[in-house]
């Protein structure tokens, strides 16, 4: 499989009242073509920030260093027009909270058509806007595609939904619409940020099934962001675990759950209430302050296996078993210390 997206040593920071927040601390990972990858972590670990950096959606006050390659081209230094075209056509993004991501004053039809007519264009002058909107042929084609996509996401009555306003649709429906909109441009990379968090459990199950059976295919790679490991287990082929701006573990899904290596991953799994009624354990301490992060490994203050070196040297992400990477001093040179 060819690599589609390659992130190299990405660092992102912000200047705030109390000082300088060093959030992303040099993360690197790859997403291959057609691969559904889960990006897992708790609040504040930097997972949304990572994708927002990729999509160049950060304010200009952000300090970014590192490189991001998409199909071989570097994204962060790319010229704006080219990037907008790329972002509109090759990379699709479904933001958090389906409730708020649709414009409440336009029908679904209008939003989907607009999406198709104007995707990838950075500046649309009045002339261009009107000429596009008057182009009946293009609009009809767009409408056809919209119907097709709504059917693909298993919406029972596409015509009715097209004519509806967002407030008339339930949360699950809105989420399906957002997924359909994301697929309109036939992207090669889909980024979904917590797409099922705001939904009911039974609706969530429906959406997950939809994604697995009909959306994720060999031509569409996905980055699926969630804090729910159970969902990640159902959806992703490979999982990246993030903590405090670092990727601490990366492995194929089954492998990760069978043998979690990083103490944080272990702690996370232990903390989840299970039907088998094992006692839950929290992870002591809190997520660190990004202005004064812990030295060395950012997890060390909370780590039950902490050693001296952990507070001095930051561990590298190393391959411990085939396809299983950990960033932890317990596993140097492929062996457990």
């Amino acid at each position: 499989m060819k690599p589609l997206l390659r992130v190299q040593n990405l660092k992102v920071g912000f200047s705030i009242f109390d000082g300088f927040m060093k959030v992303l601390d040099g993360i690197s990972f790859t997403v291959f073509e057609g691969e559904p990858v889960g990006l897992v972590g708790e609040t504040g670990c930097g997972k949304s920030l990572t994708v927002k950096t990729m999509l160049r959606m950060l304010p200009s006050t952000a300090h970014i260093s590192g490189r991001i390659f998409f199909k071989g081209e570097e994204l962060l230094s790319m010229d704006e027009d080219r990037f907008y075209r790329l972002r509109g056509n090759e990379i699709a993004y479904i933001p958090q909270e389906p409730m708020n991501s649709l414009n409440p004053v336009f029908t679904i039809k209008e939003q989907m058509i607009d999406h198709m007519l104007f995707k990838g264009l950075r500046k649309v002058g009045w002339n261009k806007y009107y000429s596009l909107r008057k182009n009946k042929e293009r609009i009809n084609k767009a409408l056809e595609k919209a119907k097709e996509m709504l059917e693909k996401v298993q919406i029972p009555d596409p015509a009715r939904v097209l004519d509806s306003y967002p407030y008339q649709l339930s949360g699950g429906m809105r989420q399906r619409v957002l997924i359909a909109m994301a697929l309109l441009a036939s992207p090669s990379l889909l980024i979904a940020d917590e797409p099922t968090t705001a939904l009911d459990v039974t609706t969530q199950a429906q959406i997950v099934k939809l994604l697995k059976e009909r959306i994720f295919n060999e031509r569409l790679a996905t980055i699926y962001i969630t804090h729910n490991l159970g969902i990640a287990r159902q959806v992703a082929r490979r999982i990246l675990v993030m903590y405090a701006g670092n990727i601490v573990e990366s492995a194929f899904t089954e492998e990760l759950f069978r043998e979690p290596l990083h103490p944080y991953t272990r702690g996370l799994l232990d903390a989840i209430p299970k039907l088998t009624k094992e006692e839950v354990e929290g992870i002591p301490g809190r997520i660190p302050d990004y202005v004064n992060p812990p030295s060395g490994c950012r997890f060390h203050p909370r780590c039950p296996y902490r050693m001296n070196v952990c507070s001095k040297v930051k561990p590298e992400l190393t391959e411990v078993k085939s396809g299983h990477y950990v960033s932890c001093h317990l596993y140097e040179k492929g062996k457990r210390v």
């Binding site: 199950a205 159970g230 969902i231 232990d270 903390a271």
Partner: protein, 324 residues
């Protein structure tokens, strides 16, 4: 011997929807539609359901935020809505609530010490000095140090905010606490700590909990008995063990089978995968007969005509379904 602490009888709460220029009533949100259940002293009773089920409304009625349209709530023998005001105030000292979103349940312009002291101030317990002492005690009980007393909510993490909310709920030494999704807004690692705290406090003070949640994994770990709600109705009540081993109502089965588990051992405990058609209708438009019938895989002819009543099928296992 199990004594009943709280008895809910035929509780109904409809929220009117006003429309038109003159604000006429054009419909009702049937939040709670004739439900009954009992909670025994010392147990953790879970009220489970998805959005629109009415579970939060039930909790808020019990603590007095909403007044029911009909029905009774008997706490420790006293009818909460039919007792004189003075006496009622004393009874209400025994009931308190921890809300779902710690960020909005704490007044952002008040400091922790004032927030936790609020119940003591309202009931005029002791002198100012006594109250401060008690607040200190409570804060330490929820595993926070004294330095948190003078902080504002915005500088606290989600878990810390929830601890403050719990401290406030404990201020008057209640016997019964309604916990409305106490950990939904928290991260997984924090969730575990809060759950352990709640369990510890329950043992220490012999508290009775009514846990409102949609998370069945928590229910399995923490609750003694469970009631499953759907669109304002209770569809099944059973002990936790019994519910997980023998889910009877089709909705319960669907709910259980959609839990995103993380181990294979857990997956084996789930009932066969049930897929529901469509989505939960709005409580404004409750289907006729059994509210679940449009989505039910086992629907029969009478299901859209008669609403099934809650019947005791096995010992202490109640279901509201025409299949039985």
């Amino acid at each position: 011997m199990k004594t009943v602490l709280l008895n809910v009888e035929n509780l109904k709460k409809y929220f009117p929807i006003l429309g038109g220029i003159f604000g006429k009533v054009i419909g009702y949100v049937k939040a709670v539609d004739d439900i009954s259940f009992s909670i025994y002293e010392g147990e953790t009773f879970a009220l489970v359901g998805e959005s629109g089920s009415g579970k939060t409304t039930v909790g808020k009625i019990i603590v007095g935020i909403y007044k029911p349209d009909s029905g009774k709530i008997i706490f420790n023998g006293y009818d909460l809505f039919n007792t004189n005001k003075k006496f009622l105030k004393k009874i209400k000292m025994n009931i308190s609530m921890v809300f779902q979103d710690p960020a909005s349940s704490l007044n952002p312009r008040k400091r922790v010490i004032d927030i936790v002291m609020t119940p003591l101030n309202i009931y005029k317990i002791g002198s100012k000095q006594d109250r401060i002492k008690r607040v200190r005690e409570l804060i330490n009980l929820v595993e926070l140090t004294d330095e948190y007393l003078y902080k504002y909510p915005y500088s606290l993490s989600g878990g810390q905010k929830q601890r403050v909310a719990i401290a406030r709920a404990l201020a008057l030494n209640p016997r019964f606490i309604v916990l409305d999704e106490p950990t939904s807004a928290l991260d997984v690692s924090v969730q575990a700590k809060i759950l352990k705290l709640l369990i510890r406090l329950q043992k220490m003070y012999k508290l009775t909990y009514m846990l409102i949640t949609h998370d069945l994994s928590i229910v399995r770990n923490v609750a003694d008995r469970v009631a499953v709600m759907y669109l304002g109705n209770i569809v099944e009540i059973a002990s936790t063990e019994e519910l997980f081993h023998n889910p009877l109502h089709p909705y319960t089965r669907a709910l259980l089978s959609s839990i995103p588990v993380i181990t294979n051992e857990e997956a084996e405990l789930l009932p066969e995968k049930v897929e529901l058609k469509g989505e939960i209708p709005s409580p404004v438009d409750v289907p006729s007969g059994c509210p679940f019938h449009p989505r039910c895989y086992a629907r029969t002819d009478i299901c859209d005509k008669n609403k099934p009543a809650l019947k005791e099928l096995r010992k202490e296992h109640f279901v509201a379904c025409h299949l039985f």
